[in-house]
Protein backbone atom coordinates (compact mmCIF):
# COMPACT_ATOMS: atom_id res chain seq x y z
CA UNK A 1 0.00 0.00 0.00
CA UNK A 2 2.69 2.45 0.96
CA UNK A 3 4.53 1.52 -2.18
CA UNK A 4 1.47 2.31 -4.21
CA UNK A 5 1.28 5.66 -2.52
CA UNK A 6 4.94 6.43 -2.94
CA UNK A 7 4.44 6.07 -6.68
CA UNK A 8 1.43 8.35 -6.63
CA UNK A 9 2.92 10.65 -9.24
CA UNK A 10 2.76 7.79 -11.71
CA UNK A 11 -0.84 7.14 -10.82
CA UNK A 12 -1.63 10.75 -11.55
CA UNK A 13 0.25 10.48 -14.82
CA UNK A 14 -1.51 7.32 -15.85
CA UNK A 15 -4.89 8.70 -14.86
CA UNK A 16 -4.39 11.88 -16.86
CA UNK A 17 -2.99 9.96 -19.77
CA UNK A 18 -6.04 7.73 -19.89
CA UNK A 19 -8.39 10.72 -19.59
CA UNK A 20 -6.67 12.50 -22.42
CA UNK A 21 -6.42 9.48 -24.62
CA UNK A 22 -10.05 8.58 -24.04
CA UNK A 23 -11.14 12.08 -24.96
CA UNK A 24 -9.10 12.03 -28.16
CA UNK A 25 -10.54 8.71 -29.21
CA UNK A 26 -14.09 8.94 -27.96
CA UNK A 27 -15.07 12.54 -28.47
CA UNK A 28 -16.53 13.43 -31.81
CA UNK A 29 -15.96 17.11 -31.22
CA UNK A 30 -12.75 18.32 -32.77
CA UNK A 31 -12.15 20.95 -30.10
CA UNK A 32 -12.50 18.34 -27.41
CA UNK A 33 -10.12 16.10 -29.26
CA UNK A 34 -7.54 18.86 -29.11
CA UNK A 35 -8.19 19.37 -25.43
CA UNK A 36 -7.82 15.63 -24.85
CA UNK A 37 -4.56 15.75 -26.72
CA UNK A 38 -3.43 18.53 -24.41
CA UNK A 39 -4.26 16.54 -21.33
CA UNK A 40 -2.48 13.57 -22.78
CA UNK A 41 0.65 15.59 -23.42
CA UNK A 42 0.45 17.27 -20.04
CA UNK A 43 0.48 13.90 -18.32
CA UNK A 44 3.82 13.22 -19.95
CA UNK A 45 5.11 16.59 -18.86
CA UNK A 46 4.16 15.76 -15.29
CA UNK A 47 5.92 12.46 -15.58
CA UNK A 48 9.13 14.14 -16.64
CA UNK A 49 8.92 16.82 -13.97
CA UNK A 50 8.18 14.37 -11.19
CA UNK A 51 11.11 12.25 -12.31
CA UNK A 52 13.37 15.24 -11.86
CA UNK A 53 12.37 15.74 -8.23
CA UNK A 54 15.25 15.35 -5.81
CA UNK A 55 14.34 14.67 -2.17
CA UNK A 56 14.50 17.91 -0.16
CA UNK A 57 15.58 19.72 -3.31
CA UNK A 58 14.14 23.11 -4.10
CA UNK A 59 13.26 24.68 -7.42
CA UNK A 60 16.37 24.80 -9.58
CA UNK A 61 16.85 28.57 -9.45
CA UNK A 62 20.36 29.22 -8.24
CA UNK A 63 20.47 30.98 -4.88
CA UNK A 64 23.08 31.38 -2.17
CA UNK A 65 20.71 30.02 0.45
CA UNK A 66 20.20 26.58 -1.03
CA UNK A 67 22.45 23.73 -2.06
CA UNK A 68 20.04 20.95 -3.00
CA UNK A 69 18.01 21.49 -6.15
CA UNK A 70 15.73 19.37 -8.25
CA UNK A 71 17.21 18.08 -11.47
CA UNK A 72 16.86 20.95 -13.95
CA UNK A 73 17.32 18.92 -17.13
CA UNK A 74 13.77 17.54 -17.26
CA UNK A 75 12.49 21.07 -16.66
CA UNK A 76 14.43 22.37 -19.60
CA UNK A 77 13.29 19.51 -21.79
CA UNK A 78 9.69 19.91 -20.82
CA UNK A 79 9.83 23.63 -21.38
CA UNK A 80 10.68 22.77 -24.97
CA UNK A 81 8.00 20.11 -25.09
CA UNK A 82 5.45 22.59 -23.75
CA UNK A 83 6.32 25.04 -26.47
CA UNK A 84 5.87 22.27 -28.98
CA UNK A 85 2.57 21.34 -27.36
CA UNK A 86 1.31 24.91 -27.48
CA UNK A 87 2.25 25.12 -31.12
CA UNK A 88 0.42 21.87 -31.79
CA UNK A 89 -2.66 23.13 -29.97
CA UNK A 90 -2.61 26.43 -31.78
CA UNK A 91 -2.27 24.72 -35.13
CA UNK A 92 -4.95 22.21 -34.24
CA UNK A 93 -7.39 24.90 -33.19
CA UNK A 94 -6.70 26.98 -36.26
CA UNK A 95 -7.45 23.91 -38.32
CA UNK A 96 -10.66 23.43 -36.38
CA UNK A 97 -11.73 26.99 -37.07
CA UNK A 98 -11.00 26.57 -40.76
CA UNK A 99 -12.88 23.29 -40.74
CA UNK A 100 -15.76 25.16 -39.17
CA UNK A 101 -15.64 27.70 -41.98
CA UNK A 102 -15.52 24.99 -44.62
CA UNK A 103 -18.02 22.54 -43.21
CA UNK A 104 -20.08 24.62 -40.82
CA UNK A 105 -19.48 22.12 -38.08
CA UNK A 106 -16.80 20.81 -35.79
CA UNK A 107 -18.45 17.46 -35.18
CA UNK A 108 -16.75 14.41 -36.63
CA UNK A 109 -19.89 12.69 -37.87
CA UNK A 110 -21.38 15.79 -39.46
CA UNK A 111 -18.15 16.41 -41.34
CA UNK A 112 -18.15 12.86 -42.60
CA UNK A 113 -21.76 13.25 -43.70
CA UNK A 114 -20.94 16.47 -45.50
CA UNK A 115 -18.11 14.80 -47.40
CA UNK A 116 -20.15 11.78 -48.39
CA UNK A 117 -23.03 14.02 -49.48
CA UNK A 118 -20.65 15.88 -51.69
CA UNK A 119 -19.40 12.68 -53.22
CA UNK A 120 -22.95 11.44 -53.66
CA UNK A 121 -24.05 14.55 -55.49
CA UNK A 122 -21.15 14.42 -57.93
Amino acid sequence: MSELFSLFNYWVVVFLMMCGFYTVIASGNLVKKIIGLNIFQTSVFIMYISVGKVTDGTAPIVSADFSVYSNPLPHVLILTAIVVGVATTALGLSLVSRIKDAYGSVEDDEILDADSDERGSK
Binding site: F21, L37, Q41, V84, L91, G92, D115
Partner: protein, 492 residues
Amino acid sequence: MIAHLPALVVLVPLLAAPICFIFSRSPAIGWVITVVSSWVSFAIACVMAVTLLNGGEIQYVFGGWAPPWGIEYVVDQLNLLVVLVVTGVAAVIFPATLKSVRPEVASHQLPLFFVSLLLCFSGLLGIAVTGDAFNLFVFLEISSLSTYTLISMGKDRRALTAAFNYLIMGTIGATFILIAVGILYMLTGTLNMADLAVRLPSLGDSRALQVAFAFTIVGVGLKLAMFPLHLWLPNAYAYAPSAVSAFIAATATKVAVYVMIRFLYSIFGAEFSFSEIFVQWLLLPVSVCAILFTSVVALFQHDVKRLLAYSSVAQIGYMLLGIALVNQTGLAAALIHLFNHALMKGALFLAVAAMVFRVGSSHVDQLRGIGRKMPWTSAAFVAGGLSIIGVPATVGFVSKWYLVLAAIENGWWWMAAIVLVASLIAVVYIWRIVELAYFADSEASETEVKEAPLIILIPIWMLVASNFYFGIHSSVVTRFAEGAAAMLWGQG
Protein backbone atom coordinates in the same frame (compact mmCIF):
# COMPACT_ATOMS: atom_id res chain seq x y z
CA MET B 1 34.96 23.43 -40.96
CA ILE B 2 34.10 19.81 -41.67
CA ALA B 3 33.08 19.35 -38.07
CA HIS B 4 30.45 22.06 -38.42
CA LEU B 5 28.79 20.53 -41.45
CA PRO B 6 26.24 18.38 -39.59
CA ALA B 7 24.97 21.45 -37.80
CA LEU B 8 25.10 23.56 -40.94
CA VAL B 9 23.03 21.19 -43.00
CA VAL B 10 20.18 21.67 -40.51
CA LEU B 11 20.77 25.30 -39.72
CA VAL B 12 20.76 26.54 -43.30
CA PRO B 13 17.07 25.80 -43.89
CA LEU B 14 16.21 26.53 -40.26
CA LEU B 15 17.63 30.04 -40.54
CA ALA B 16 16.28 30.47 -44.04
CA ALA B 17 12.76 30.01 -42.69
CA PRO B 18 12.59 33.30 -40.73
CA ILE B 19 14.30 35.12 -43.60
CA CYS B 20 11.62 33.69 -45.83
CA PHE B 21 9.05 34.98 -43.35
CA ILE B 22 10.49 38.49 -43.44
CA PHE B 23 10.05 38.55 -47.20
CA SER B 24 6.54 37.25 -46.86
CA ARG B 25 5.24 39.84 -49.31
CA SER B 26 6.64 38.01 -52.28
CA PRO B 27 6.25 34.27 -52.79
CA ALA B 28 8.91 34.40 -55.49
CA ILE B 29 11.56 35.54 -53.04
CA GLY B 30 10.45 32.85 -50.61
CA TRP B 31 10.75 30.32 -53.36
CA VAL B 32 14.25 31.46 -54.29
CA ILE B 33 15.35 31.27 -50.67
CA THR B 34 13.83 27.82 -50.31
CA VAL B 35 15.44 26.48 -53.44
CA VAL B 36 18.83 27.96 -52.69
CA SER B 37 18.88 26.62 -49.16
CA SER B 38 17.91 23.15 -50.35
CA TRP B 39 20.79 23.25 -52.81
CA VAL B 40 23.20 24.46 -50.17
CA SER B 41 22.07 21.66 -47.86
CA PHE B 42 22.47 19.13 -50.60
CA ALA B 43 25.96 20.41 -51.34
CA ILE B 44 26.84 20.13 -47.65
CA ALA B 45 25.47 16.60 -47.57
CA CYS B 46 27.61 15.71 -50.56
CA VAL B 47 30.70 17.14 -48.91
CA MET B 48 29.91 15.10 -45.82
CA ALA B 49 29.48 12.00 -47.93
CA VAL B 50 32.87 12.49 -49.51
CA THR B 51 34.45 13.15 -46.12
CA LEU B 52 32.85 10.12 -44.58
CA LEU B 53 33.86 7.83 -47.38
CA ASN B 54 37.45 8.98 -46.96
CA GLY B 55 37.60 9.28 -43.22
CA GLY B 56 35.43 8.31 -40.31
CA GLU B 57 32.57 9.70 -38.28
CA ILE B 58 31.70 13.35 -38.32
CA GLN B 59 30.78 14.74 -34.94
CA TYR B 60 29.58 18.12 -33.80
CA VAL B 61 28.93 19.17 -30.25
CA PHE B 62 26.64 22.07 -29.49
CA GLY B 63 27.45 24.84 -27.05
CA GLY B 64 30.70 23.35 -25.88
CA TRP B 65 29.16 20.86 -23.47
CA ALA B 66 30.51 17.36 -23.57
CA PRO B 67 28.21 14.85 -25.31
CA PRO B 68 26.34 13.18 -22.46
CA TRP B 69 24.86 16.58 -21.49
CA GLY B 70 25.22 18.74 -24.54
CA ILE B 71 23.40 18.06 -27.76
CA GLU B 72 25.52 16.13 -30.15
CA TYR B 73 25.21 15.77 -33.89
CA VAL B 74 26.65 12.60 -35.30
CA VAL B 75 26.93 11.59 -38.91
CA ASP B 76 27.63 8.00 -39.81
CA GLN B 77 26.77 6.02 -42.91
CA LEU B 78 23.23 5.40 -41.75
CA ASN B 79 22.05 8.92 -41.28
CA LEU B 80 24.17 10.24 -44.08
CA LEU B 81 22.13 8.04 -46.38
CA VAL B 82 18.98 9.63 -45.00
CA VAL B 83 20.43 13.13 -45.24
CA LEU B 84 21.37 12.50 -48.83
CA VAL B 85 17.88 11.28 -49.63
CA VAL B 86 16.17 14.23 -47.98
CA THR B 87 18.44 16.93 -49.34
CA GLY B 88 18.63 15.35 -52.76
CA VAL B 89 14.88 15.02 -53.13
CA ALA B 90 14.37 18.52 -51.78
CA ALA B 91 16.95 19.96 -54.15
CA VAL B 92 15.11 18.42 -57.07
CA ILE B 93 11.52 18.96 -56.01
CA PHE B 94 11.69 22.44 -54.46
CA PRO B 95 12.31 24.21 -57.78
CA ALA B 96 9.01 22.83 -59.03
CA THR B 97 7.03 23.92 -55.99
CA LEU B 98 6.19 27.52 -56.80
CA LYS B 99 4.75 26.80 -60.21
CA SER B 100 3.04 23.65 -59.06
CA VAL B 101 1.31 24.96 -55.97
CA ARG B 102 0.18 28.32 -57.33
CA PRO B 103 -3.17 26.94 -58.52
CA GLU B 104 -3.61 24.85 -55.40
CA VAL B 105 -2.61 27.06 -52.50
CA ALA B 106 -4.41 30.32 -51.75
CA SER B 107 -2.12 33.19 -52.69
CA HIS B 108 -2.10 34.71 -49.22
CA GLN B 109 -0.81 31.43 -47.85
CA LEU B 110 2.00 31.10 -50.35
CA PRO B 111 4.68 32.88 -48.29
CA LEU B 112 3.73 30.78 -45.29
CA PHE B 113 3.92 27.76 -47.55
CA PHE B 114 7.62 28.24 -48.13
CA VAL B 115 8.30 28.96 -44.48
CA SER B 116 6.59 25.69 -43.59
CA LEU B 117 8.38 23.83 -46.32
CA LEU B 118 11.74 25.02 -45.04
CA LEU B 119 10.87 24.15 -41.46
CA CYS B 120 9.69 20.72 -42.51
CA PHE B 121 12.89 20.24 -44.46
CA SER B 122 15.15 21.28 -41.61
CA GLY B 123 13.13 19.21 -39.14
CA LEU B 124 13.62 16.10 -41.22
CA LEU B 125 17.32 16.79 -41.50
CA GLY B 126 17.55 17.45 -37.79
CA ILE B 127 15.98 14.09 -37.00
CA ALA B 128 18.55 12.41 -39.15
CA VAL B 129 21.55 14.25 -37.85
CA THR B 130 20.98 14.56 -34.13
CA GLY B 131 22.59 12.18 -31.69
CA ASP B 132 20.33 13.20 -28.84
CA ALA B 133 17.08 11.37 -28.19
CA PHE B 134 15.16 14.38 -26.93
CA ASN B 135 16.44 16.60 -29.67
CA LEU B 136 15.12 14.01 -32.05
CA PHE B 137 11.66 14.48 -30.57
CA VAL B 138 11.90 18.23 -31.03
CA PHE B 139 12.90 17.96 -34.66
CA LEU B 140 10.23 15.36 -35.20
CA GLU B 141 7.68 17.85 -34.00
CA ILE B 142 9.12 20.71 -36.02
CA SER B 143 8.81 18.66 -39.16
CA SER B 144 5.41 17.26 -38.19
CA LEU B 145 3.87 20.60 -37.33
CA SER B 146 5.03 22.14 -40.56
CA THR B 147 3.78 19.09 -42.42
CA TYR B 148 0.31 19.51 -40.92
CA THR B 149 0.38 23.13 -42.05
CA LEU B 150 1.47 22.18 -45.54
CA ILE B 151 -1.20 19.52 -45.88
CA SER B 152 -3.92 21.84 -44.68
CA MET B 153 -3.12 24.19 -47.56
CA GLY B 154 -4.56 21.73 -50.06
CA LYS B 155 -7.30 22.98 -52.34
CA ASP B 156 -10.00 20.53 -51.27
CA ARG B 157 -11.63 21.17 -47.91
CA ARG B 158 -10.89 17.57 -46.99
CA ALA B 159 -7.26 18.68 -46.77
CA LEU B 160 -8.28 20.31 -43.50
CA THR B 161 -9.72 17.18 -41.95
CA ALA B 162 -6.82 15.15 -43.30
CA ALA B 163 -4.35 17.52 -41.68
CA PHE B 164 -6.37 17.47 -38.48
CA ASN B 165 -6.44 13.70 -38.26
CA TYR B 166 -2.77 13.54 -39.05
CA LEU B 167 -2.18 16.10 -36.33
CA ILE B 168 -4.02 14.00 -33.77
CA MET B 169 -2.35 10.74 -34.71
CA GLY B 170 1.04 12.32 -35.22
CA THR B 171 0.95 14.08 -31.88
CA ILE B 172 -0.03 10.90 -30.11
CA GLY B 173 2.87 9.18 -31.82
CA ALA B 174 5.27 11.94 -30.87
CA THR B 175 4.05 11.89 -27.31
CA PHE B 176 4.60 8.16 -27.16
CA ILE B 177 8.14 8.71 -28.31
CA LEU B 178 8.48 11.39 -25.65
CA ILE B 179 7.31 8.91 -23.00
CA ALA B 180 9.81 6.35 -24.21
CA VAL B 181 12.62 8.88 -24.15
CA GLY B 182 11.54 9.91 -20.65
CA ILE B 183 11.65 6.34 -19.39
CA LEU B 184 15.04 5.82 -20.96
CA TYR B 185 16.24 8.96 -19.24
CA MET B 186 14.88 7.73 -15.93
CA LEU B 187 16.66 4.45 -16.33
CA THR B 188 20.01 5.74 -17.49
CA GLY B 189 20.19 9.43 -16.72
CA THR B 190 21.26 10.24 -20.24
CA LEU B 191 19.69 11.31 -23.51
CA ASN B 192 22.68 10.89 -25.74
CA MET B 193 22.05 8.00 -28.10
CA ALA B 194 25.58 6.64 -27.98
CA ASP B 195 25.55 6.90 -24.22
CA LEU B 196 22.17 5.19 -24.04
CA ALA B 197 23.47 2.36 -26.17
CA VAL B 198 26.34 1.87 -23.74
CA ARG B 199 24.25 1.99 -20.60
CA LEU B 200 21.10 0.10 -21.55
CA PRO B 201 22.58 -3.39 -21.83
CA SER B 202 23.71 -3.30 -18.19
CA LEU B 203 20.09 -2.82 -17.12
CA GLY B 204 19.17 -6.29 -18.23
CA ASP B 205 15.59 -7.19 -18.91
CA SER B 206 13.83 -4.52 -16.91
CA ARG B 207 10.09 -4.04 -17.09
CA ALA B 208 10.45 -0.32 -17.59
CA LEU B 209 12.74 -0.89 -20.52
CA GLN B 210 10.15 -3.09 -22.15
CA VAL B 211 7.55 -0.38 -21.64
CA ALA B 212 9.86 2.16 -23.22
CA PHE B 213 10.38 -0.19 -26.11
CA ALA B 214 6.66 -0.65 -26.63
CA PHE B 215 6.04 3.08 -26.59
CA THR B 216 8.82 3.56 -29.10
CA ILE B 217 7.44 1.01 -31.51
CA VAL B 218 3.92 2.37 -31.38
CA GLY B 219 5.05 5.99 -31.48
CA VAL B 220 7.41 5.58 -34.37
CA GLY B 221 4.93 3.20 -35.97
CA LEU B 222 2.37 5.99 -36.02
CA LYS B 223 4.84 8.37 -37.59
CA LEU B 224 5.92 5.96 -40.30
CA ALA B 225 2.40 4.70 -41.04
CA MET B 226 3.04 1.13 -39.95
CA PHE B 227 0.20 -1.00 -41.19
CA PRO B 228 -2.73 -0.66 -38.80
CA LEU B 229 -1.51 2.77 -37.77
CA HIS B 230 -1.43 4.11 -41.32
CA LEU B 231 -4.95 5.47 -41.43
CA TRP B 232 -3.87 9.08 -41.46
CA LEU B 233 -1.67 8.69 -44.48
CA PRO B 234 -3.94 8.17 -47.51
CA ASN B 235 -5.98 11.30 -46.96
CA ALA B 236 -2.98 13.34 -45.97
CA TYR B 237 -1.15 12.49 -49.17
CA ALA B 238 -4.24 12.70 -51.33
CA TYR B 239 -5.37 16.17 -50.30
CA ALA B 240 -2.08 17.90 -49.66
CA PRO B 241 -0.90 20.25 -52.40
CA SER B 242 0.60 17.93 -54.98
CA ALA B 243 4.17 19.14 -54.73
CA VAL B 244 3.96 18.72 -50.97
CA SER B 245 2.73 15.16 -51.42
CA ALA B 246 5.75 14.52 -53.59
CA PHE B 247 8.18 15.89 -51.04
CA ILE B 248 6.57 14.31 -48.00
CA ALA B 249 5.97 10.94 -49.60
CA ALA B 250 9.57 10.85 -50.68
CA THR B 251 11.09 11.89 -47.39
CA ALA B 252 8.93 11.99 -44.26
CA THR B 253 8.13 8.32 -43.78
CA LYS B 254 11.70 7.42 -44.78
CA VAL B 255 13.01 9.52 -41.96
CA ALA B 256 10.57 7.80 -39.62
CA VAL B 257 11.89 4.44 -40.78
CA TYR B 258 15.34 5.73 -40.02
CA VAL B 259 14.20 6.59 -36.51
CA MET B 260 12.84 3.07 -36.12
CA ILE B 261 16.14 1.56 -37.22
CA ARG B 262 18.09 3.93 -34.99
CA PHE B 263 16.05 2.98 -31.96
CA LEU B 264 16.03 -0.75 -32.65
CA TYR B 265 19.70 -1.11 -33.49
CA SER B 266 21.62 1.80 -32.02
CA ILE B 267 19.71 2.55 -28.85
CA PHE B 268 18.03 -0.61 -27.65
CA GLY B 269 20.48 -2.78 -29.54
CA ALA B 270 19.75 -5.63 -31.90
CA GLU B 271 20.36 -8.11 -29.10
CA PHE B 272 17.59 -6.64 -26.96
CA SER B 273 15.18 -5.88 -29.82
CA PHE B 274 15.35 -9.23 -31.53
CA SER B 275 16.51 -11.72 -28.95
CA GLU B 276 14.66 -10.51 -25.87
CA ILE B 277 11.63 -8.66 -27.14
CA PHE B 278 11.37 -10.53 -30.42
CA VAL B 279 10.03 -7.47 -32.17
CA GLN B 280 10.40 -9.25 -35.49
CA TRP B 281 7.33 -11.30 -34.66
CA LEU B 282 5.39 -8.09 -34.45
CA LEU B 283 6.96 -6.48 -37.50
CA LEU B 284 6.67 -9.53 -39.70
CA PRO B 285 2.88 -9.93 -39.78
CA VAL B 286 2.45 -6.18 -39.78
CA SER B 287 4.67 -5.75 -42.81
CA VAL B 288 3.15 -8.68 -44.67
CA CYS B 289 -0.32 -7.27 -44.07
CA ALA B 290 0.86 -3.87 -45.23
CA ILE B 291 2.38 -5.31 -48.37
CA LEU B 292 -0.63 -7.37 -49.34
CA PHE B 293 -3.67 -5.55 -47.96
CA THR B 294 -2.80 -2.00 -48.80
CA SER B 295 -1.65 -3.05 -52.25
CA VAL B 296 -5.07 -4.55 -52.80
CA VAL B 297 -6.74 -1.46 -51.40
CA ALA B 298 -4.72 0.61 -53.84
CA LEU B 299 -6.38 -1.30 -56.67
CA PHE B 300 -9.73 0.22 -55.83
CA GLN B 301 -8.76 3.87 -55.55
CA HIS B 302 -10.23 6.42 -57.89
CA ASP B 303 -7.74 9.12 -57.10
CA VAL B 304 -4.20 8.65 -58.31
CA LYS B 305 -2.71 10.41 -55.32
CA ARG B 306 -4.66 8.17 -52.97
CA LEU B 307 -3.60 5.16 -54.95
CA LEU B 308 0.03 6.17 -54.62
CA ALA B 309 -0.51 6.84 -50.94
CA TYR B 310 -1.75 3.30 -50.34
CA SER B 311 1.12 2.05 -52.41
CA SER B 312 3.40 3.99 -50.08
CA VAL B 313 2.01 2.16 -47.06
CA ALA B 314 2.76 -1.09 -48.85
CA GLN B 315 6.25 0.08 -49.69
CA ILE B 316 6.86 1.00 -46.07
CA GLY B 317 5.86 -2.58 -45.39
CA TYR B 318 8.81 -3.67 -47.52
CA MET B 319 11.17 -1.63 -45.39
CA LEU B 320 9.76 -3.05 -42.17
CA LEU B 321 9.96 -6.51 -43.69
CA GLY B 322 13.65 -5.96 -44.29
CA ILE B 323 14.05 -5.12 -40.62
CA ALA B 324 11.89 -8.04 -39.53
CA LEU B 325 14.00 -10.56 -41.41
CA VAL B 326 16.68 -9.98 -38.78
CA ASN B 327 19.71 -10.46 -40.91
CA GLN B 328 22.25 -8.10 -42.30
CA THR B 329 21.00 -8.44 -45.85
CA GLY B 330 17.48 -7.63 -44.73
CA LEU B 331 18.63 -4.51 -42.96
CA ALA B 332 20.58 -3.51 -46.04
CA ALA B 333 17.46 -4.19 -48.12
CA ALA B 334 15.43 -1.92 -45.85
CA LEU B 335 18.00 0.85 -46.21
CA ILE B 336 18.28 0.37 -49.95
CA HIS B 337 14.54 0.52 -50.30
CA LEU B 338 14.46 3.57 -48.06
CA PHE B 339 16.67 5.31 -50.59
CA ASN B 340 15.02 3.85 -53.66
CA HIS B 341 11.45 4.40 -52.62
CA ALA B 342 12.18 8.08 -52.17
CA LEU B 343 13.23 8.24 -55.80
CA MET B 344 10.23 6.34 -57.15
CA LYS B 345 7.56 8.03 -55.11
CA GLY B 346 9.13 11.41 -55.66
CA ALA B 347 8.96 10.87 -59.40
CA LEU B 348 5.44 9.47 -59.35
CA PHE B 349 3.93 12.09 -57.08
CA LEU B 350 5.66 14.88 -58.95
CA ALA B 351 4.34 13.51 -62.23
CA VAL B 352 0.88 13.53 -60.72
CA ALA B 353 1.53 17.05 -59.50
CA ALA B 354 2.22 18.05 -63.09
CA MET B 355 -1.04 16.44 -64.19
CA VAL B 356 -2.94 18.19 -61.42
CA PHE B 357 -1.30 21.42 -62.52
CA ARG B 358 -2.75 21.08 -66.00
CA VAL B 359 -5.92 19.12 -65.43
CA GLY B 360 -6.83 20.39 -61.98
CA SER B 361 -7.60 17.00 -60.53
CA SER B 362 -5.99 13.67 -59.90
CA HIS B 363 -9.19 11.70 -60.26
CA VAL B 364 -8.80 8.84 -62.69
CA ASP B 365 -11.73 9.97 -64.81
CA GLN B 366 -10.08 13.33 -65.38
CA LEU B 367 -6.84 11.70 -66.48
CA ARG B 368 -8.29 9.73 -69.37
CA GLY B 369 -6.15 10.10 -72.42
CA ILE B 370 -3.61 12.21 -70.58
CA GLY B 371 -0.89 10.19 -72.27
CA ARG B 372 -1.51 11.94 -75.53
CA LYS B 373 -1.89 15.40 -74.07
CA MET B 374 1.04 15.28 -71.67
CA PRO B 375 3.33 12.70 -73.24
CA TRP B 376 6.47 13.50 -71.26
CA THR B 377 4.74 13.63 -67.92
CA SER B 378 2.86 10.43 -68.60
CA ALA B 379 5.98 8.68 -69.79
CA ALA B 380 7.63 9.70 -66.53
CA PHE B 381 4.70 8.24 -64.64
CA VAL B 382 5.07 4.98 -66.53
CA ALA B 383 8.78 4.92 -65.78
CA GLY B 384 8.13 5.51 -62.09
CA GLY B 385 5.48 2.82 -62.20
CA LEU B 386 7.96 0.36 -63.67
CA SER B 387 10.21 1.13 -60.75
CA ILE B 388 7.41 0.51 -58.25
CA ILE B 389 6.72 -2.79 -59.93
CA GLY B 390 10.39 -3.68 -59.73
CA VAL B 391 11.38 -4.08 -63.35
CA PRO B 392 15.09 -4.78 -63.80
CA ALA B 393 17.25 -1.72 -64.48
CA THR B 394 15.11 0.34 -62.14
CA VAL B 395 15.79 0.92 -58.48
CA GLY B 396 12.66 -1.01 -57.55
CA PHE B 397 14.29 -4.15 -58.85
CA VAL B 398 17.36 -3.67 -56.69
CA SER B 399 15.24 -3.23 -53.56
CA LYS B 400 13.15 -6.28 -54.20
CA TRP B 401 16.11 -8.35 -55.16
CA TYR B 402 17.80 -7.65 -51.85
CA LEU B 403 14.60 -8.30 -49.95
CA VAL B 404 14.11 -11.64 -51.67
CA LEU B 405 17.74 -12.51 -51.00
CA ALA B 406 17.30 -11.72 -47.33
CA ALA B 407 14.14 -13.82 -47.18
CA ILE B 408 15.90 -16.72 -48.86
CA GLU B 409 18.80 -16.33 -46.47
CA ASN B 410 16.32 -17.19 -43.72
CA GLY B 411 15.00 -20.00 -45.86
CA TRP B 412 11.66 -18.23 -46.17
CA TRP B 413 10.66 -18.95 -49.71
CA TRP B 414 7.08 -18.07 -49.03
CA MET B 415 8.20 -14.58 -48.10
CA ALA B 416 9.90 -14.22 -51.46
CA ALA B 417 6.63 -15.37 -52.99
CA ILE B 418 4.71 -12.69 -51.12
CA VAL B 419 7.05 -10.02 -52.43
CA LEU B 420 6.45 -11.27 -55.95
CA VAL B 421 2.69 -11.41 -55.49
CA ALA B 422 2.76 -7.83 -54.25
CA SER B 423 4.72 -6.87 -57.35
CA LEU B 424 2.00 -8.43 -59.42
CA ILE B 425 -0.62 -6.38 -57.63
CA ALA B 426 1.54 -3.34 -58.26
CA VAL B 427 1.51 -4.20 -61.94
CA VAL B 428 -2.25 -4.11 -61.87
CA TYR B 429 -2.68 -0.80 -60.10
CA ILE B 430 -0.02 0.93 -62.13
CA TRP B 431 -1.39 -0.60 -65.30
CA ARG B 432 -4.85 0.69 -64.55
CA ILE B 433 -3.52 4.21 -64.71
CA VAL B 434 -1.40 3.52 -67.77
CA GLU B 435 -4.39 2.11 -69.58
CA LEU B 436 -6.48 5.14 -68.71
CA ALA B 437 -3.72 7.49 -69.67
CA TYR B 438 -2.95 5.96 -73.02
CA PHE B 439 -5.79 3.79 -74.16
CA ALA B 440 -8.89 5.51 -72.93
CA ASP B 441 -10.59 8.18 -74.95
CA SER B 442 -10.45 11.46 -73.17
CA GLU B 443 -13.71 13.07 -72.30
CA ALA B 444 -14.37 16.11 -74.38
CA SER B 445 -12.89 18.83 -72.25
CA GLU B 446 -13.34 22.46 -73.10
CA THR B 447 -9.87 23.43 -71.92
CA GLU B 448 -6.96 22.29 -73.96
CA VAL B 449 -4.49 20.40 -71.77
CA LYS B 450 -0.87 21.01 -72.62
CA GLU B 451 2.38 19.40 -71.56
CA ALA B 452 3.59 20.47 -68.11
CA PRO B 453 5.92 23.47 -67.88
CA LEU B 454 9.63 22.73 -67.92
CA ILE B 455 10.19 23.88 -64.37
CA ILE B 456 8.10 20.91 -63.24
CA LEU B 457 9.02 18.55 -66.04
CA ILE B 458 12.76 18.78 -65.52
CA PRO B 459 12.63 17.79 -61.84
CA ILE B 460 10.32 14.90 -62.74
CA TRP B 461 12.74 13.61 -65.31
CA MET B 462 15.69 14.11 -63.03
CA LEU B 463 13.96 11.82 -60.56
CA VAL B 464 13.08 9.35 -63.28
CA ALA B 465 16.64 9.38 -64.53
CA SER B 466 17.89 8.74 -61.01
CA ASN B 467 15.50 5.78 -60.84
CA PHE B 468 17.28 4.26 -63.76
CA TYR B 469 20.75 5.48 -62.90
CA PHE B 470 20.69 3.93 -59.45
CA GLY B 471 18.90 0.91 -60.85
CA ILE B 472 21.78 0.29 -63.18
CA HIS B 473 24.67 1.50 -61.05
CA SER B 474 23.14 0.02 -57.97
CA SER B 475 26.45 -0.54 -56.24
CA VAL B 476 26.66 3.16 -55.37
CA VAL B 477 23.75 2.77 -53.00
CA THR B 478 24.05 -0.87 -52.06
CA ARG B 479 27.63 -0.48 -50.90
CA PHE B 480 26.58 2.43 -48.75
CA ALA B 481 23.61 0.58 -47.33
CA GLU B 482 25.59 -2.58 -46.76
CA GLY B 483 28.19 -0.56 -44.93
CA ALA B 484 25.54 1.01 -42.73
CA ALA B 485 23.94 -2.39 -42.10
CA ALA B 486 27.29 -3.90 -41.18
CA MET B 487 27.92 -1.02 -38.82
CA LEU B 488 24.53 -1.46 -37.12
CA TRP B 489 25.00 -5.19 -36.77
CA GLY B 490 28.45 -4.57 -35.37
CA GLN B 491 26.87 -2.43 -32.68
CA GLY B 492 24.35 -5.10 -31.79
